[in-house]
Symmetry: C2
Subunit: 174 residues, 2 copies
DNA sequence: ATCCCTGCAAAGGGTTTGCAGACGC
DNA sequence: GCGTCTGCAAACCCTTTGCAGGGAT
């Protein structure tokens, strides 16, 4: 009657982070661990500002510069993945204990869905071999229209006028 | 002893563009066709500024605003594809008469290679069906290390200090 | 005590926008 | 002639950077 505690991933991540900082001779500051914790307590995707505001709302004092800096470190040790979902706004997502997956994005409402297909890995291996390329990771995104009844901006194909329709949305990743 | 004229794609593209502008009741300005021509005479990928400078160098008077505006229109009618190769700098590429392909990017020297694997299309179709998602297009990028002898920045894995190593390169797409 | 890391604010760089004049229709 | 498109420059927004003070080692 009980689920696996969501803390377990956080705990593992914390240990991995600790080891990484040690190995690289980086300092184990409280800010770095607080940011890691905040990320691993979140679901889905987020951008820098969402993370920053979220921590501010919990009265945790951090600066944007530190958030940026720490995210770089976390991406480097593979605890966080950075995405560029077609906008000029980096999106992040925890990656430890999260099964390998790729994304579908609705170009109307910007909803993000996930899927997993092992053939992607096969392609990656084969192409890497053929082109003598040591592939470390990949990004696969399908863009299209979702089937939600309440999908916003449905059929707004008119990007002729300089409008904010498809670009100015603050929270693209639901 | 003669190759297929590179103009043929340009001619087709021009006609498609013409029809599109007509259908959308947009104006057929000389700037729009000049930009289309410049793009279809280029090879590989480019960013907005490269295109802008390239036209300036040929003494063709255009403004950046018009380049941005026209690229939007061209992307909308599928004559040009827009990429976000992990940086905050949009890259573009002509897409008519160019076989469908995906990309490998060297994280050291930023060299871009292309490959084509039909299985990607299969995955796209299957995932779209399963998740009731009308997939229009996709982006698949493999990141890794190329095998070139003269690959720059090889092994610069230290992104700890705030450096420009992996980010500040001006011409990432060779 | 050292010097890396944080926080702040300013700078940077790509993209968007407002406005006036030009020109396709 | 009307209304859209262009060109210019300023505004915008995310991200990076410089610097001084603070805290991890």
């Amino acid at each position: 009657m009980q689920q696996a505690p969501p803390q377990s991933n956080l705990e593992s991540a914390r240990m991995i982070f600790m080891a990484y900082l040690e190995r690289k001779s980086l300092r184990k500051t409280p800010e770095r661990f607080a940011i890691l914790e905040e990320i691993y307590n979140r679901a889905d995707h987020f951008d820098v500002d969402e993370l920053y505001v979220s921590m501010k709302n919990k009265n945790y004092q951090v600066s944007r510069a530190t958030v940026y800096n720490t995210l770089d470190v976390l991406v480097d040790c593979d605890l966080v993945t950075k995405h560029q979902f077609g906008k000029n706004l980096a999106q992040y997502e925890k990656s430890y204990g999260y099964r390998q997956h790729d994304h579908l994005i609705c170009t109307d409402c910007h909803k993000v869905m996930e899927f997993c297909d092992p053939r992607v890995q096969n392609i990656q291996n084969m192409v890497g071999d053929m082109l003598k390329f040591n592939v470390m990771h990949h990004s696969l995104i399908f863009y299209g229209a979702c089937a939600r009844d309440n999908c916003e901006n449905r059929g707004s194909t008119d990007r002729q006028t300089r409008s904010k329709d498809a670009q100015g949305v603050q929270n693209p990743v639901g």
